[in-house]
């Protein structure tokens, strides 16, 4: 069993070496899409990207003379920003108890007090909030079908129909208010 810290350190190292060093030695030949586009005669339809001229456009940091250094720097920036965004999102989700094991803001009685992880592997179960409300009392298949139908209707509503979305929000808030009440 590899420890999490070892995995993260080695993974980061590999990512930095690949993006920061190896990327500078990549083949300058056109990539698969560009090659096919040129061969099939639609290469001329390519346009510059909206973000052309931004600091790391074209996988190179602007203003750095050496091509390899510019590419390597852009790669390293990419690794760091991916780590910050991805790591930030997943750790926030773990804290919120949405996915997987994580720290919990409020301590609850652990379902598995004997286990070293304090039953955190069962974090998914903790999505359920035990209460006695009319919504809790409904049969599971009714709620499942209602939720699926509601999501289907929401997704297929044209987005310009603002009033419809207001109505959906009212329905949802109303249901959650009932779910908090006692029956």
């Amino acid at each position: 069993m590899i420890r999490l810290r070892t995995f993260l350190v080695v993974g980061l190292l590999v990512a930095f070496v690949l993006a920061g060093v190896v990327s500078g030695f990549a083949s300058p030949a056109p990539d698969g899409l560009e090659k096919v586009a040129a061969d099939k005669g639609f290469g001329s339809t390519a346009r510059t990207h909206d973000l052309d001229g931004s600091p790391v456009a074209g996988y190179q940091v602007t203003g750095v003379g050496d091509n390899r250094v510019a590419t390597g720097l852009a790669g390293a920036i990419g690794v760091v920003s991916t780590l910050v965004v991805g790591g930030g999102c997943s750790s926030r989700c773990a804290v919120a108890g949405v996915v997987g094991p994580g720290r919990r803001p409020c301590r609850r009685a652990s379902p598995h007090p004997g286990r070293s992880d304090g039953g955190r592997r069962h974090g998914v179960h903790q999505l359920f909030v035990p209460r006695r409300s009319p919504v809790h009392a409904l049969p599971a298949h009714v709620k499942l079908a209602a939720a699926a139908a509601f999501v289907l209707v929401v997704v297929s509503t044209p987005y310009r129909q603002l009033w419809a979305f207001a109505g959906y929000a009212v329905l949802l808030v109303g249901t959650s208010v009932i779910a908090r009440s006692r029956c």
Binding site: R92, R131, V135, A140, L144, V151, V155, Y159
Partner: protein
């Protein structure tokens, strides 16, 4: 409670917020920043539908035990019918 559980939606929000800045087409000035109109509609579309969808599933998960969800289909009669055909 609901707010904390909506955190799972954050990556989609990040994507939606980017849309008005990178989309093409007609632009509109909002406090000196040029935003794409189709991008704004796209962002609203993603935000509204994702929020309603996530909130629905959070509500379902908080009011229904996992144990009850699994045999939930048997109760509706779907399973029995599919076995006969």
């Amino acid at each position: 409670m609901l707010g904390r559980r909506l955190v799972v939606e954050v990556p989609f929000v990040a994507f939606a917020v980017l849309l008005p800045f990178v989309s093409r087409g007609e632009k509109v000035d909002v406090v000196g920043v040029s935003l794409s109109i189709s991008g704004l509609w796209g962002a609203w579309n993603v935000l509204a539908k994702a929020t309603l969808g996530v909130a629905t599933s959070v509500l379902l998960a908080s009011t229904t035990e996992l144990r009850a969800l699994v045999p939930g289909w048997t109760g509706s009669g779907c399973r029995r019918r599919s076995f006969r055909s």
